[in-house]
């Protein structure tokens, strides 16, 4: 294998990430979504006694997990060179969570 061939192979590998990771992210998203829907239908089914607050915490955690997966894989945030995107999104999320925390505080106390 000449130097040039090696170089183009490396290059090709680098450029074409391939659909595998993206399809994997899709499968995970489907599973997390299905889990959330199933948890809620199970809670509402006759004869089950699950604490509602627990199920709510559970499905919100699933949503946060799914959001992180989609941001990392589909929106390429896991790739290098995404320092500023991470800063911008964290800034937005901090303000968003402040607003949500204030609303919860207002309702509960």
């Amino acid at each position: 294998m000449s130097d040039q061939t090696i170089n183009s192979t490396v290059r090709k590998k680098h450029r074409h990430e391939g659909p595998r990771n993206h399809v994997l992210a899709f499968a995970l998203s489907i599973i997390l979504t299905a889990l959330a829907f199933l948890a809620v239908s199970y809670t509402l089914a006759e004869g089950t006694h699950v604490q509602h607050w627990f199920v709510q915490m559970f499905i919100v955690s699933l949503a946060i997990f799914q959001a992180i997966i989609q941001l990392a894989f589909w929106m390429h945030m896991k790739d290098k060179g995404h320092g500023w995107p991470i800063v911008f999104i964290i800034m937005g999320v901090v303000v968003a969570f402040t607003a949500i925390a204030s609303a919860l505080f207002w309702v509960w106390y």
């Binding site: 450029r15 659909p19 829907f37 911008f88 937005g92 607003a99 309702v107």
Partner: protein
């Protein structure tokens, strides 16, 4: 690569083997600053979520979330949007391997799924209005339609945006000018899907649980 137009005569760009959307400084800046816009969108939706969470039980004697929402309908909307996010990934991947026809096809599929989602939402809103759950019926109604309607408006804007991109690429081809636009539109589309994840969880699933 040789059949591509490189609008980068001064050589600011990366070597041509990098992704096309990052070939010029303008393209790279466009992508980075689009993330600033997405950060601002987090704030917008965050405050709408905060309002909804605070007012979700203020139904003023009208129908509640558990009276209105239907798990099957929400599941369909979720699947449609999730699949459309995947098809926009495929479009960007086709762009990275310079298969313009394939990219356009996946973009068309994304747009069609976006239209299906919007149609389902219009049907849903109409159904609720017949059940006396309107924008002015209660604080729950106002906060619900503000949040979910704003998301639906984002979907419709995305449909319009990606459609115009498809038409522009038909005319101008895939270049270092048009490639960042496709990439940024796909970021926008994924972001809309991420917001929907929180909407189906907080508005619908938690609403159904009461």
């Amino acid at each position: 690569m040789s059949n591509l137009t490189h609008a980068d005569p001064h050589g600011h760009g990366l070597p041509p083997e990098g992704p096309l959307e990052r070939a010029t400084l303008e393209g790279r800046n466009k992508i980075t600053l689009f993330w600033l816009f997405l950060g601002a969108e987090c704030v917008l939706f965050g405050t709408l979520f905060a309002t909804f969470i605070a007012l979700r039980n203020s139904t003023l004697g009208g129908p509640t979330g558990s009276d209105l929402f239907d798990l099957i309908l929400v599941a369909w909307a979720t699947i449609i949007l999730l699949v459309s996010s995947l098809t926009s990934v495929f479009a960007v991947q086709a762009m990275h391997s310079h298969q313009v026809g394939k990219m356009q096809l996946w973009l068309v599929v994304t747009v069609l799924l976006g239209i299906a989602f919007a149609a389902l939402e219009i049907y849903e809103f109409q159904h609720y209005i017949h059940m006396e759950h309107t924008f002015v019926s209660s604080a729950f109604g106002t906060s619900y339609y503000s949040l979910v309607g704003f998301h639906g408006a984002h979907v419709m804007f995305g449909v319009f945006w990606i459609t115009t991109l498809i038409l522009q690429i038909m005319k101008k081809g895939l270049t270092t000018v048009t490639a960042p636009k496709v990439y940024v539109a796909s970021l926008y589309w994924h972001f809309i899907d991420v917001v929907w994840v929180f909407i189906f969880t907080v508005v619908y699933l938690m609403g159904i649980m009461g």
